[in-house]
Point group: C2
Chain length 116, copies 2
């Protein structure tokens, strides 16, 4: 998310949450961090379909939005750990609900997504 030409909509709760949660991998990042995968390389391995680059970028945005915090250990080779902030933690039940809905409807969803 760099400068936008199209003005932001921040009119309602759905606009607001959209601003911080849009991004192909953000919800999964939050979820995996919550599950205890805190280092960039671990997250990378959990989400092999995403490019390293995008994960870095989206992690940085999550950090700017105060959903995760980042600790850089001054060692070599470098060590970095992410964790959910208290604020980020409040999203976990909602993300769980999203994932559950997807799991519960797996059959049907695969059908309608792929049928086209």
């Amino acid at each position: 998310m760099r400068e936008k030409k199209i003005p932001l909509n921040l009119n309602c709760g759905l606009d607001l949450i959209g601003e911080v949660l849009y991004g192909k991998w953000k919800i999964r990042l939050l979820w995996f961090i919550h599950e205890g995968y805190r280092r960039p390389s671990e997250l990378q391995r959990k989400i092999p379909d995403a490019s390293r680059r995008v994960l870095n970028i989206q992690l940085k945005e999550l950090e700017q939005h105060e959903l995760v915090s980042k600790i850089i250990y001054p060692v070599a080779p470098p060590k970095v750990e992410f964790s959910l902030t208290d604020f980020g933690m409040t999203l976990i039940p909602i993300i769980a609900a999203l994932g559950n809905w997807g799991d519960e409807n797996e059959e049907r969803l695969k059908n309608v997504i792929l049928k086209r």
Copy 2:
């Protein structure tokens, strides 16, 4: 969503729900239909920031994914009505949770989104 070059990920519930809910206006469309705004022109007026075109496209995808159904009345001028399917209805509590989280954290979210 036309042909994709990048393969779909349908590994977990989060992937699946992402496939049907991604799209800038889809969640809002579902919500407004749930609130009783069923005609395309009404939805348009509720979401003036979206172009007519995209709303049509996203409504069509929601229909293909069986979250909404569409009735075309054979009259002139044309009349069309959308409604949530039973399947789509099961998303409403989750969408409500998303919206509530956004509303409850309005201050903070506006801050972190705009501070940059």
